[in-house]
């Protein structure tokens, strides 16, 4: 089974479309994740999730640090990711996911950046590239 990721024309990085479902919150989000082996954690970016539709009692997660500064994240509980694989829709239960706050810990606005599919989930797959390097494949030999 493999999931195809496509290359951004503007930045040459690889993205994978996925639906994120938080069972507890009964919320579904549509995210183009940046495939990021340099990120230890999968994280949803504030600018890709409509805060207005979320319940406001989300628990806070730990502090994350990136080049844009440090920020706290909220916890989206009981999440599953749905990818489109060559065999059809592939669901992966991932548990809690972080959702970045739109403010850094010192009160500045976080820049809008991509949500990242980090190594915590990428470890479930092996990775290969097409010969022309325009596509990246997340491959899983057996469940």
């Amino acid at each position: 089974m493999y999931i195809e990721c496509y290359q951004g024309f503007n930045d040459k990085r690889y993205y994978v479309p996925a639906f994120v479902l938080s069972k507890q919150l009964e919320s579904v989000f549509k995210i183009n994740f940046l495939v990021d082996t340099g990120s230890p954690t999968t994280l949803l970016s504030w600018n890709e999730v409509p805060y207005a539709t979320l319940r406001t009692n989300l628990r806070e997660d730990r502090i994350y640090t990136g080049m844009g500064g440090s920020f706290k994240a909220f916890i989206l509980p009981e999440c599953s990711l749905f990818f489109y694989a060559n065999t059809g829709i592939y669901d992966l239960v991932v548990g809690n996911l972080g959702l970045s706050n739109y403010l850094t810990v010192d009160g500045r606005l976080c820049p809008p950046v991509a949500s990242v599919l980090g190594i915590d989930i990428l470890n479930e797959f092996s990775i290969s590239f097409s010969d022309d390097l325009e596509r990246l494949f997340l491959i899983q030999s057996a469940r």
């Binding site: 496509y6 290359q7 951004g8 024309f9 503007n10 930045d11 990085r13 993205y15 479309p17 639906f19 479902l21 069972k23 009964e26 579904v28 549509k30 183009n32 600018n47 890709e48 409509p50 207005a52 539709t53 080049m67 599953s80 749905f82 489109y84 059809g88 829709i89 669901d91 809008p112 950046v113 991509a114």
Partner: protein, 81 residues
């Protein structure tokens, strides 16, 4: 909540198709919508705004379900790390 009704084949295919179109046409979109939120459906920008609150309001006014569009904040990604 029925997962398959929300995350069905048709919705997924449209999501993938519009995402590919978005990335293929990103540099053109930067010329017109730089630093704006855009919503894309069937290869057409159906809503756009510089502020997220305004953007959400516009989607609501146009009766657009966020799960039927691809949403992206347009910016020059070459400067991101």
């Amino acid at each position: 909540m029925s997962h398959m009704s929300i995350v069905g084949d048709d919705r997924f295919n449209q999501f993938i198709d519009d995402s590919r179109w978005l990335h293929k046409n990103y540099n053109e979109l930067i010329k017109e919508f730089n630093l704006e939120y855009v919503a894309i459906k069937n290869h057409i920008v159906v809503a756009h705004s510089k502020e997220m609150n305004d953007f959400e309001r516009e989607l609501k006014q146009l009766n657009i379900d966020r799960l039927d569009v691809v949403v992206e904040f347009i910016r020059d990604k070459r400067n991101e790390i």
